[in-house]
Amino acid sequence: MILVAEHKKPQHDLRAEKYLNPKKLYVPLAQHTGAQSVSCVKRGDVVKEGDLIAKKGGFVSADIHAPCGGKIVNIDRWFHPNLKRSPAIVIQCDGSKKEYSLRAGIKDLKKEKLLEIIANSGIVGLGGAAFPTHIKLSPPKPIDTLIINGCECEPYLATDYRLMMENLEEIFKGIEIISKLINPKEFIFAIEENKHEAVKKINLLINTKKFKLPKARSVILKSIYPQGGEKQLIYAALQRKVPSGKLPFDAGCLVHNVATAFAIYEAVYFDKPLIERLVCFCGDALVSPKNIWVKTGTLLSELFEAKILEFKTDPKKIVCGGPMMGVNLDCLDYPILKGSGGFLFLNRPVVDLRETPCIRCARCVDTCPMNLLPLEYAKLVKKEQYEFLADFHISDCIECGCCSYGCPAKIPIVQYIKIGKKYAPKNN
């Protein structure tokens, strides 16, 4: 665990804006963990906002809906932040709007019906991994604790914080639905101490007892990175360790991001599928950072063409996601996905690329939140001795980046680990 400069100002205090009338959308079929969705429209079709355009491609998969009404002009490979290129449905938007109305009889909805609504709304975990939520909400083991993750430990990003500040009641309504589904004994709202304004609001809402929740409490955690990592969060909030290679339900708990809870609220209350999300755009290359509600599939370049975002200077680096775990983009033609919480546009050269010999200072060992020996991975991968990587438990690595961050020799340890994971022989 490390202390990183937060860089959360000023985006932390900027009200969310809206850009919900894009001209053209590129909706990738791979926006979640698991099987890619299968397109169920063809070129020339006209769709309305919220129409199903791609169905689940397997058990672990999610539906995709038309973020805007318009005409399908193409289905072809397009830029994708994580996969480089992936098939995408291209929609020429017609500017039509859809009004969402409150669903009747929400209180009487059965569990099965609720789960069906969530599954048919294409909701995925919005914390980053984009795991289909309906699967996470039907765990094979009983859950005694539900944790809502409002940590947002990545520097720069302020998406979850803004959502908590502006839509906290809705988030709590979403949490109500989640707890109805999995029936936990206890509910914990986990948040870092640097978000004190949100903490006040959360405690207020917990104390009003307006919501049908189990025994609820908020847990204020230290602002260190990676506090919001699922396993680190469970340990910090509950002192429970998720066994290596297992999932949180093996430790009797379930972690959901605040944005996911909000998406569940919208799906259940308004029958609105996951087609838009709050994204934080920041970094020193922008004239001013912004938090904007955008449709999934909007291209970054369109935001710049529409003068929603403006460059102060040429960026040297564009990062999709947070600075610690995000991926670099090579142009602005990338679409915003369901799981994209933020984009960084950095001007100053932030990472020194001159690698020098490892002096075995073990800063990486001291800071590794998974108690691993990162320097050994770098050494083994450099020598291409992939067969020994499993002895050092490389599969437990969460690629949080603490090791590379603190390395005085500037060794890109995470890069070596990613290579190592690819070539390490799989042992069961």
Partner: protein, 308 residues
Amino acid sequence: MHLKITSSPHLSSKINTSYIMLQVMVGLLPATVWAVYLFGQRAIFLIVNCILSAVISEVLILWLRKKPIVIGDCSAILSGLLLALILPPSTKWYAASLGSIFAILVGKHIFGGLGSNIFNPALIGRAFLMAAYPKMLTTFIAPNSINALTAATPLALRKFSQAITLNKDLFFGNVAGSLGETSSLLLIIGGLYILVVRIADWRIPLSLLLTTAVISIIGFRFNPLNGDIFFHLLSGGLLMGAFFMATDPVTTPITKKGRYIFGVGCGIFIMLIRYFSGLPEGVMYSILFMNAFTPLINRYSAPKPFGG
């Protein structure tokens, strides 16, 4: 737009190798200044000689190995300074140069250069001189003496003449000894500094000092001539070794558990040598000995993965 594509993370701390080395040198500064005050010109010559020899041999060896010539990481400068501080003030210039060259060549580059060496280079240099010039390395001069009167170190006085040095003199550094090891107070200040700025891990110094303290208390019970706890903690190269030699990142364990083992091991061997061997002091050999065990300690003290 010229965009850089790298692996995550896209932030990095400001700390780098030369910063670490410079901070260690800052930690050594009080003891170095004190050495110059006590031994005057001799000290200055010795320090400059050792550092220059180390840097020049580093450049030559890197050139011969066809490696990029990097002096900016300050590792050779630090090795030279450390060697100078653990040599007797009366060491001849050729011996000091030879020790420096040996430290860099055999102590460091034979194993593959910075980061790959098994033994602490400065200690290797001193061990070599101990074998090559045993008389020179065991002859010390009295502090502040103009005519370079020879004098015995407190540990040698205890061992060979059963004479006890005042703790006050040991603490403030008014005794004979190697350049940088005379003043306990200044070594503690410098040592605490590198612990506070997190350049060195506190586990090794703490376990090393605690082990020597415990053994010396027991030893004193058996025979008061063994010297008491303060005598053993403050004399010889113990503090220098504990704070600046046993905390060298390259040659000490990378695991937290391993660091305790390393410190305890050093402490035990130091006291064994002080009590039972023909030598008055054993910090150098103990640390070198434990350096050899570092890979083994690392292997058996690897932490369990989180949740594993």
